[in-house]
């Protein structure tokens, strides 16, 4: 059910490499890499899904896979289903409760590794749904990486009764049904 497409600044990268090669002015301490593959070209998501919701908040999950040789960082995410999205982590607060909050610096997917986005852990938080997310429909997301490359994927919506973490700064003990 997942369909994935990529929008990649590949041509730009190739040109940049060519220019460096021609002018020979690579930064002094940088290892001379023949090419740096854009993150959007080496990252995919497996088993993506979104929790259904009538309104308000929801969240998207899946396993981000980085097949590249460098760590990559997801710095932002966009979707027409919610004008405001955040990359969230779930951490223990001072009171010992597990709360979710926006992660500083984005999601890092290690080189040749994976990053699981799952209920109770890291996830893509949809802060303000533009309309109901009905089970069986698809939501399209665009991830933007630190190198400005992007990766687009779509994820099916599923009914799910978990993923009710508290939101840091939210009213005490009020579960945010996301």
């Amino acid at each position: 059910m997942n369909t994935t497409t990529r929008t990649l600044p590949r041509l730009a990268a190739v040109i940049a490499v060519s220019v460096l090669a021609l002018t020979g002015c690579a930064p002094e301490n940088a290892p001379v890499k023949t090419e740096t593959v854009p993150a959007g070209e080496v990252v995919t998501i497996d088993d993506a899904w979104v929790k259904s919701a009538d309104e308000g908040m929801s969240a998207a999950f899946g396993t981000l896979v980085n097949t590249g040789e460098d760590d990559v960082t997801v710095v932002s995410v966009a979707s027409e289903a919610s004008p405001m999205l955040e990359l969230h982590e779930t951490v223990e607060n001072e009171a010992g409760e597990m709360v979710m909050r926006e992660i500083e610096g984005g999601f890092v997917i290690p080189a040749g590794g994976k990053l699981a986005l799952e209920p109770g852990a890291n996830h893509i938080m949809m802060m303000d749904l533009t309309g109901p997310l009905a089970a069986g429909s698809d939501v399209t997301f665009t991830l933007t990486f630190a190198d400005d490359s992007t990766y687009e994927f779509s994820a099916p919506v599923k009914d799910y009764s978990g993923a009710n973490e508290n939101y840091e700064g939210g009213e005490e003990h009020e579960g945010m049904d996301h």
Partner: protein, 408 residues
């Protein structure tokens, strides 16, 4: 299949995910190939020892294909049948969403992978030949704004019927079958969680056959009367089976029709019947299912044979004589037994979940059932208490969903 040697078994004890995936991937190739590959991957430097049978739990049945699985699949040990009623607001668009989700769940679970949003993913890892088969009742086809085959309707009323609404009809059928009851229960819950927003449960029927490995695969099942049940079935994989089962009509091409009837069996009354009476009621011996005119199960019955004093050897009221139809009147049976908690002072509440697949229910099943309704001595001990008819759509390709020929 020989039992694995102890040493070999202990090597498999810590079965890894890779082994598991491999098992799934090569299930169709055969046990020998699977074992060979397994040993080659894991024990390159040691004596492979005696061949090891793959774990039963690792066995998979492909989900994608021309036909849905669970029809020509050798019947698994456990089967759950669920009849669902669609919510009033479910239209063609919502149906499409529902069937996409359920198909995706089934595609994953049958291959030993957790469904998306599976809260108990570990329970999905041993598929044990899990199959999920979807059937469409008349109400669903109407919601889909499709053209139903003429036979997609409740069966005509039969005199023997004592049908209860809680075991009859329904818009959507889920047949979930596998060789492991925990896997089947998990798959059922996963599918029902995803169906909950679109439909509610009308009825559930839980059935069983022999446990996995108890009998040689392909052995005709026995029901709780002790009868060999299903001897005349066409054999999957033959042109004969294809003719009996698969239809080529419109969106249903590659699919079939299913009749599911809950047949209560009065075991206490059956207990009062002696062995020769039991044999005569069916026209077969209980010992091996051979017709009363033969010695082996698959011997053709001789309906003209008479006894020394001129009576038919297979009595006029015998089940097999009454069921036997002309030419087209054949069906493929894939029944399950049920045995529930008895009510009141009874000690049994048992019977058969009669399941038959046939391309055209009106032409193949109904005439046979009419004859049995008129006369069949077995009616003395059996009562149909549930009945439902479904169109079983064809299978789907990867990227598609079951029902896409109706809904797209």
């Amino acid at each position: 299949m020989t039992a694995p040697a102890e040493g070999a078994r202990s090597r498999r004890a810590g079965s890894t995910r890779r082994q598991f995936l491999l098992g799934g991937a090569v299930a169709g190739v055969g046990a020998v190939a699977a074992v060979g590959a397994d040993i080659a991957l894991n024990l390159p430097d040691t004596d492979p020892g005696p061949a090891v049978a793959p774990m039963n739990g690792d066995e998979t049945v492909p989900f994608f294909g021309v036909h849905q699985a669970g029809i020509d699949t050798a019947a698994q040990a456990h089967g759950i049948f669920v009849g669902l009623d669609l919510h009033d607001d479910v239209d063609r668009e919502a149906l499409t969403r529902l069937l996409r989700i359920l198909s995706d769940d089934a595609a994953r679970l049958t291959q030993g992978l957790p469904a998306l949003a599976d809260s108990e993913p570990e329970l999905a890892l041993s598929p044990a030949r899990l199959t999920v088969t979807f059937g469409f009742g008349p109400g669903l086809v109407q919601r889909a704004e499709g053209v139903a085959p003429p036979w997609l309707a409740p069966l005509p009323a039969f005199g023997v019927d004592r049908l209860r609404p809680e075991f009859s009809d329904g818009d959507l059928l889920l047949q979930i079958a596998g060789d492991d009851p925990l896997t089947v229960a998990h798959a059922t819950r996963m599918l029902l969680k995803d169906a909950r927003g679109f439909a509610s449960i009308r009825w559930t029927q839980q059935g069983f056959r022999r446990a996995y490995g108890t009998e040689r695969p392909g052995t005709t099942m026995r029901n709780l009367f002790g009868q060999v049940d299903g001897t005349t079935n066409p054999e999957p994989g033959t042109a004969d089976f294809d003719r009996v089962v698969w239809t080529d009509r419109g969106w249903l091409a590659g699919g079939t029709g299913a009749v599911i009837r809950r047949i209560r069996m009065d075991l206490d009354k059956w207990d009062r019947l002696d062995r020769s009476g039991r044999d005569a009621s069916v026209g077969r011996t209980l010992s091996n299912g051979a017709p009363l005119t033969g010695s082996e199960e698959f011997d053709e019955p001789d309906f003209d044979a008479t006894t020394a004093i001129g009576f038919p050897v297979i009595p006029p009221f015998a089940h097999i004589r009454r069921a036997r139809g002309e030419g087209r009147e054949r069906i493929f049976r894939r029944a399950y037994n049920y045995d529930e908690r008895p009510a009141g002072g009874d000690v049994s509440e048992s019977g058969l979940i009669f399941v038959s697949f046939q391309a055209d229910i009106e032409r193949q099943f109904v005439p046979m059932q009419r004859r049995l309704d008129e006369l069949d001595l077995l009616n003395e001990w059996t009562v149909p208490i549930g009945s439902a008819v479904f169109a079983i759509p064809p299978g789907c390709a990867e990227g598609g969903f079951v029902g896409d020929t109706l809904l797209t």
